[in-house]
């Protein structure tokens, strides 16, 4: 068991931290800019490009895929240092942590050459076309269909929903039904399509936090080109499952540092301000430290997930833990900030940021698989309870 960096890794960490400090533009290191903000998207693309130019993007990817051929530990270091410096979350997270590795497993040589470099150099932002109005928790209910086109590709018809960042994305990977009359997990194909083409319409969905990160996407004859099928036709379910397996590990890395920093802000606030003539920390110290312990447990659980290189159900455990911890933390944060607002006779400068985080945290128990589905997965696949 070893949680301390090796000398080589420590040197790499310091190089990454130095690079970030020298390249993060002023104003981007503290306050998060909403992802729907145009500035976020242009920053995000530029950041990926610069990171790539400095050989710091996708460091664990093989050189043939545009990476550096380093270890997962190096990837962890990059993600942690970005989190520590409060760099906004990557615009291409899903492609970097899930889609890219899946393409390495299931894609053809031609597809890997064609699509992988664009993920790392900031030129191609990807979105995920899985969920549909009638296929949420029950993903095998996908109805959007791909009709065989003359040149060997497909024409898509139907609808996707809850598509995060579809309005920013250049390309989509999607699960569609390519065998007419097929049911459930059979007859689905994993396809790639250009979002900037006729036959693709993106409609933003206004969320309870006032933002529009996710969208509806309508297909009306959108073209999947000849080389746009990943894996075998009709065998897309296996590709999608490979991808969901990748969702769990690296996605968590660094988040604990962001939460830690937020918690420090709360502690600082509670130490400075008073409620009823007493420092607020006296009222909230215990609950804040309960959350602090949970953040540390989350960090350790993430390391364990990465170290044991287990996929699938074990990922559901960390996902569930993270969701509940985050929601508890953000609920406590708005409680404290609200109390201090009242006690101070006016809103704190950061009140809106905390409110936004709180509302965003409420989406986590559904996004990426509901907590109920995670519990079913744990109970049936890890604990062996009857289906």
């Amino acid at each position: 068991m070893e949680l301390t960096d090796s000398a080589e890794l420590a040197a790499f960490r310091s190089r990454v931290a130095t690079w970030i400090a020298g390249h993060l533009p002023p104003g981007w290191d503290r306050h998060s800019v909403p992802t729907e903000d145009e500035r976020w998207a242009s920053f995000g693309r530029g950041w990926e490009r610069d990171l790539h130019a400095a050989n710091l993007n996708g460091v664990s990817w093989p050189a043939s895929a545009g990476g550096q051929g380093l270890t997962i530990d190096h990837e962890v270091v990059v993600l942690e240092e970005m989190a520590r410096a409060n760099v906004p979350e990557s615009i291409n997270n899903m492609a970097k942590t899930m889609f890219g590795p899946t393409l390495m497993d299931h894609g053809s040589d031609q597809q890997r050459k064609r699509y992988l470099p664009g993920i790392l150099d900031g030129t191609t932002v990807w979105c995920q076309g899985f969920s549909e109005p009638n296929a949420g928790s029950d993903l095998a209910g996908v109805e959007a269909r791909g009709e065989a086109a003359e040149d060997g590709g497909y024409r898509l018809y139907g609808q996707k929903i809850w598509t995060s960042l579809a309005h920013r994305a250049d390309w989509m990977f999607a699960l569609v039904r390519t065998e007419p009359g097929s049911a459930r997990h059979k007859g689905l194909s994993f396809v790639l399509l250009d979002m900037k083409q006729p036959g693709v319409e993106v409609r933003p969905i206004l969320q309870i936090d006032g933002l529009s990160e996710f969208n509806e996407v309508f297909f009306d004859g959108a073209l999947v080109a000849t080389n746009g099928l990943v894996g075998e036709p009709g065998e897309g379910w296996a590709v999608a499952m490979t991808m969901l397996g990748y969702e769990r590990g690296l996605a968590h890395v660094g988040r604990y540092l962001r939460f830690q920093s937020q918690l420090d802000d709360l502690v600082s606030l509670a130490r400075r301000l008073e409620v009823g003539g007493r420092p607020a920390i006296e009222a909230y110290g215990q609950r804040l430290m309960a959350v602090r312990a949970e953040i540390e447990v989350y960090r350790l659980a993430t390391y364990r997930l990465l170290s044991e290189q287990v996929s699938g159900p074990a990922g559901s455990v960390v996902k569930l833990f993270w969701t509940e911890m985050l929601q508890r933390m953000q609920a406590l944060a708005v409680e404290i900030v609200g109390e201090l607002n009242v006690a101070g006779g006016g809103p704190l400068p950061q009140a809106e940021v905390w409110e936004g985080r709180y509302l965003a945290s409420l989406s986590r128990s559904r996004a990426g698989g509901t907590s109920e589905i995670q519990r079913n997965i744990i109970a049936e696949r890890l604990l062996g309870l009857p289906r």
């Binding site: 068991m1 949970e294 350790l300 990465l306 995670q374 109970a379 604990l383 309870l385 009857p386």
Partner: protein
């Protein structure tokens, strides 16, 4: 970065598991003998923190009738720390030294007065009464936490066994005593300051690990019950409400495990372990109680009977939550450690 058990640790854990299961129904004397013969009183020295917490976990799992964290981890670790700082302990049989008055001194809660220590021309006099003290009846020496009249700082004293009086114990696996220190004059020796830190950190990490083991056992028992108990024509484990209870327990148990390994890793490395230990002790105390409560619910009425083993694990957890500092104390220690945040 490697946060997984290596082969050596797995083997040591399996050895502990096999022995402790075998000792499961033995009487207390036989358990103590088995631990001694198996070398488990030297685990802090020979196996280190990782093996130490893995063994404590197995002690919790098997419901071992022995205060493992107290007498196999905390006391030996404190003595070893004192020795490395120049203390020469009297010859004592392994496993016959136990901590006393730790909670009263660290918590200062529940209205208990900490023990007092006064300097004499030769040695120290420790006075006061400590309770509840969890220890085996064969204890020959206490490592008692007392506050010295001069500095007011709690310190650790090696005190020969004096008058004890048995108390009732919520947890039937251990014996609990009221220890009277009056009259132990000039016989106590003050240990170097780091020894108290070792005692609390090893004891708290061990207690967290024992709670992990007990919670793991409760989870396994719940799954077994949910698979076998038929209602409405189906195993109740097929019903989503019950499944989700079990899944929630599993998440808590795995999170406890990560925290316990983290505490052991910190004890094994050069960094000050207190923070990681406080994370583990406070988290496990809360999580284990939640597991116990959920397990009781999954078991239905049978879990509330004396005949069913569930209550033994539930009571072990209940006892351990307050030993070596309860969750409240460890959170306060965490808060004090949040430096630079003003």
């Amino acid at each position: 970065m490697q946060f997984a058990l290596n082969e050596d640790a797995r083997l040591a854990s399996a050895a502990a598991r096999d022995l402790f299961r075998e000792l499961g129904d033995a009487d207390r004397e036989a358990v103590a003998r088995g631990l001694k013969d198996g070398g488990w009183f030297d685990v802090t020295r020979d196996g280190g923190p990782i093996v130490g917490v893995l063994a404590a976990e197995q002690a919790g799992w098997s419901g071992l009738a022995f205060p493992f964290s107290e007498q196999a981890l905390a006391a030996p670790a404190a003595l070893a720390s004192a020795v490395s700082d120049g203390y020469s302990p009297p010859a004592t049989e392994p496993g016959r030294v136990a901590p006393a008055a730790v909670s009263a001194a660290v918590d200062g809660l529940r209205g208990r007065e900490p023990l007092r220590a006064a300097r004499l021309p030769a040695g120290w006099a420790v006075s006061g009464t400590a309770w509840p003290v969890v220890a085996t009846s064969g204890v020959a020496q206490w490592l008692a936490v007392a506050t010295s009249a001069g500095s007011g700082e709690p310190c650790l004293f090696a005190v020969p066994r004096g008058k004890v009086e048995a108390m009732s114990s919520l947890d039937p696996a251990v014996e609990v005593w009221r220890v009277d220190f009056e009259g132990v004059v000039a016989a106590a020796e003050r240990l170097p300051t780091r020894a108290l830190q070792s005692l609390v950190d090893w004891g708290a990490a061990g207690a967290a690990a024992e709670m992990l083991g007990a919670a793991q056992r409760l989870l396994e028992m719940s799954i077994e019950h949910a698979k076998q108990r038929i209602q409405f024509g189906h195993p109740v484990g097929g019903f989503q409400a019950v499944k989700h209870h079990c899944a929630n327990m599993h998440v808590l148990v795995e999170a406890m495990r990560a925290s316990v390994w983290g505490a052991a890793e910190a004890l094994a490395s050069d960094s000050p372990p207190s923070e990681a230990v406080s994370v583990a002790k406070s988290y496990c105390g809360t999580a284990a109680k939640q597991v116990a409560k959920t397990s009781l619910q999954v078991h239905g009425g049978i879990g509330f009977t004396w005949e069913h083993p569930l209550h033994r694990h539930l009571k072990r957890i209940e006892r351990l939550t307050s030993e070596f500092g309860d969750a409240r104390w460890h959170r306060a220690r965490l808060l004090a450690s949040v430096e630079g945040v003003t």
